[in-house]
Subunit: 128 residues, 2 copies
């Protein structure tokens, strides 16, 4: 315990690094981060490759997402000095680690989707 402003108003989840937790949650929640990381699972990909594979991402969002992932050290950017230009993005070990927890989230969602659907139907029945 290295004495970081331990304002624990919130169970144990926000013990320390409340800001980091918030940031990670935001990343997970934003529209493209998880999908981009997922598509780097099987190896390096080029900018245009990602753009083709991701359903309807704009250049702007792809660039922003990649930049952020790069700054956080989840991916590396490699530009080859060629004409025409070629840039590849690759998961770092940290990125693969992130992909791990993201995957567990996705698996949880899949595992419980039926149950949640039932619950929602039930709720709307009760309303009537």
């Amino acid at each position: 315990m290295t004495s970081v402003t331990t304002r624990d108003a919130c169970g144990e989840l926000e013990m320390a690094n409340g800001d980091f937790v918030r940031q990670l949650l935001d990343r997970v929640g934003d529209k493209w981060t998880v999908l981009v990381v997922a598509n780097l699972k099987q190896g390096p990909r080029r900018y245009s490759g990602l753009q083709q594979i991701l359903p309807g991402i704009s250049q702007r969002m792809l660039t922003l997402t990649l930049r952020q992932l790069g700054q956080d050290g989840l991916i590396t950017r490699t530009a080859y000095g060629e004409v025409p230009p070629r840039v590849e993005y690759t998961l770092t070990p940290l990125g693969q680690s992130f992909l791990g927890i993201a995957t567990s989230l996705v698996e949880w969602a899949s595992a419980h989707s039926a149950e949640i659907t039932r619950n929602r139907a039930q709720a709307s029945d009760d309303r009537d």
Copy 2:
């Protein structure tokens, strides 16, 4: 495999139930869901109790968050016919399961916060 529109453009993460995955990711990313669930960990809580404990949540957001969690079946709402009114919210087993993955996210964030901070510092150095 029960034949759900398997549009897999996105690695394996979006195989089926792409919508559910998206929804879960959104929930995780929104501002209060995870915190509310976290604060129900140690037992039932009242509306006003949650409001006191959560740092700066508005009534509106608390109500919306609780309602959504209720519809999805992650929490139950119990109103006691008393004066003054008393309402308790409790995690369901499904909710506890959700808390499990949320906790693993938080732990990942804590475990790698230092590394990510270093990466960001490095990135801003390289920029100069």
